[in-house]
């Protein structure tokens, strides 16, 4: 282990010690008032007709750990009010939830909702269900599935199955941890007070028209790492009914439930922060109509094609979802794509973390790529790639939450990940599989801009 790695680890550990020194209850910024980090649950700009606002404020503000020096770049945060089912008084408001169009479901820390005593959801074998979710780097989240009433803006999902992230580091089955010791079960480790997954599926195991986690899937054993039940400290994969799986809150709204629009202002260079909106519903209110000028990209495997550098990054087999496919994802905090145009890559580790894997061109490069839907709709877009070292080391930009030119590698042979920088200045529409779409639009899921 070299000195640089030790330095970064020591720096991070010192941050943990500072966090522990705070008063108890800092496992999440459980705000009953407002915080400077933005995201409130009062109606924002833009009015929906009927039941209340379909707009949730978004803030790209560096997240709840920014104040301690650890900025979470290119991440959009929002607030949710979570109540015990059927209650309007036994509630908490949690801000700084990471808004993620690339995942499904609300995931919050146990300490944030302990006072609500949310009811446990059982798997089909009658025992309490646990969910395990892996991130792309094989870090993970683990914890029980519980039911809550969740309000986002003026919309409420009643009886929503959510993942409550356990603070325990023991008792996680090895098929869940799967060789990783990175259990992101605290604000300090995750960089957010939770994750608000509002992606293309109605629940977190639903894919390609069915749910492998539901017993009706016909699988002889439940998939893993997915849902589990536990007997003492021994946890085993379990089936769970589709209706009980961790669900997309938007899909359970009574109205405005067929998708979302991420609306963020443009950002041509780094900025401290910016604000925008997450609008619920597509074509259901006066503020969420799909413009006729928009390109609608139908998806296969919740993915589409990007043509870049003379190569095509799409699904090659829709049955197995093989191929170097591409996707739009607000939960990715940069543009990640294979280095087919020979952009210089960063080599240094700096105090803020591992930069190996980001791009470091000598001057900012402007590149272009074409996105294609499965039915052939296409749209070209240009994007900029800046020097990640310079951005994160220069005093003027190092603490900026908005980094539109931050980009990094996807390994050779994999596709194009259009993360949050793509969203700056582009209203991105994302529809939910199985939900009704505006007349004239293709069947969901699709993205449009």
């Amino acid at each position: 282990m070299n000195r640089q790695e030790l330095f970064v680890r020591a720096f991070f550990l010192s941050i943990l010690l500072i966090a522990l020194g705070f008063a108890a209850g800092c496992g999440g910024s459980v705000a009953t008032g407002t915080t400077s980090s933005g995201g409130t649950t009062s109606p924002g700009s833009g009015s929906g007709s009927g039941n209340g606002s379909n707009v949730l404020a978004l803030a790209v503000n560096g997240g709840p750990e920014a104040a301690t020096g650890f900025v979470y770049q290119n991440a959009a945060f929002a607030s949710a009010t979570i109540c015990a089912p059927g209650s309007t008084s036994n509630c908490v408001t949690i801000d700084n939830l990471l808004v993620d169009t690339g995942s499904t479901g609300l995931r919050i820390f146990a300490s944030e909702v302990a006072s609500l005593n949310l009811p446990a959801i059982t798997a089909t074998n009658g025992s309490g269900a646990y969910d395990c979710i892996s991130f792309v780097d094989n870090s993970y989240l683990w914890g029980p599935v519980e039911r809550a009433d969740v309000t986002l803006g003026g919309e409420t999902a009643s009886g929503l199955p959510v993942q409550v992230i356990s603070s325990a580091n023991t008792g996680v089955p090895s098929s869940c941890s799967n060789g990783s010791t990175e259990n992101d079960n605290s604000v300090e480790l995750l960089g957010a007070n939770g994750i608000l997954g509002v992606g293309n599926e109605p629940s977190d195991c639903f894919f390609n028209g069915g749910s492998a986690c539901d017993p009706s899937s016909g699988l002889s054993t439940p998939p893993s790492p997915a849902y589990y039940t536990c007997s003492g400290t021994k946890c085993s994969p379990a089936f769970i009914a589709a209706a009980d799986q961790v669900a997309n809150p938007v899909a359970l709204f009574p109205t405005d439930n067929n998708g979302v629009i991420v609306e963020l202002p443009s950002a041509s260079s780094s900025a401290a922060s910016l604000s925008g909106s997450l609008v619920f519903g597509i074509g259901t209110e006066s503020n969420n109509q799909l413009p006729s000028s928009a390109t609608v990209f139908t998806l296969a495997c919740d993915a589409f094609t990007t043509v870049f550098g003379g190569q095509t990054f799409g699904v090659t087999d829709t049955a197995t979802c093989a191929g170097p496919y591409s996707f739009i994802d607000s939960g990715s905090n940069g543009l990640f794509f294979p280095n087919v145009t020979n952009i210089p890559e960063c080599s240094s580790n700096i105090a803020q973390g591992e930069l190996d894997g980001f791009y470091c061109p000598t001057t900012t490069e402007t590149l272009s790529a074409t996105m294609e839907g499965e039915d052939g709709a296409s749209h070209a877009t240009s994007f900029s790639v800046g020097n990640a070292d310079t951005l994160l080391l220069s005093a003027g930009t190092a603490s900026d939450a908005v980094q539109p030119t931050m980009a990094g590698m996807n390994p050779v042979g994999y596709g194009f990940d259009w993360g949050l920088p793509f969203f700056y200045g582009v209203n991105v529409y994302s529809s939910i599989d199985g939900q009704r779409v505006p007349s004239g639009a293709p069947a969901a899921p699709w993205w449009a801009y």
Binding site: R9, Q73, N138, N178, G179, G191, D204, L219, P222, G334
Partner: protein, 114 residues
């Protein structure tokens, strides 16, 4: 895991396709001498890493721990003597490859390992 679904021959190696529980497809790249020199996967769930990495699993697990922390889950790019592990995708959409650079058959390029 289940027995091979499909074997695809190439000049200097074969690819054995296996399905892990939950549908994740795992491809094992087997040299002429019968050594598995690379593994790739894609699916809703990551494959059981200890099972597919075998004796390389401990090195992989240690490499994960020595990654300095930075917010934002990014693709893995472990490049070590004797082990490369790379991933792509997002929650419930996992891609990856693992290989031993010392064991690649002559003439094989990394982009063939998908």
């Amino acid at each position: 895991m289940n027995a091979s679904l499909r074997v695809t021959p190439h000049d200097t190696y074969e690819v054995h396709e296996i399905q892990a529980p939950g549908g994740t497809v795992v491809d094992e790249y087997v040299s002429a001498s019968g050594t598995v020199f690379a593994v790739t996967w894609h699916g809703q769930f990551p494959p059981p890493m200890e099972q597919i990495l075998g004796t390389y699993f401990q090195q992989y697990s240690t490499a994960l721990q020595t990654r300095p922390k930075m917010y934002g889950h990014r693709p893995l790019n472990i490049q070590e003597q004797g082990l490369v592990v790379q991933t792509a995708g997002h929650m419930r959409a996992h891609f990856g490859r693992a290989y031993d650079p010392n064991l690649l058959p002559p003439g094989l390029t990394v982009s063939e390992i998908q």
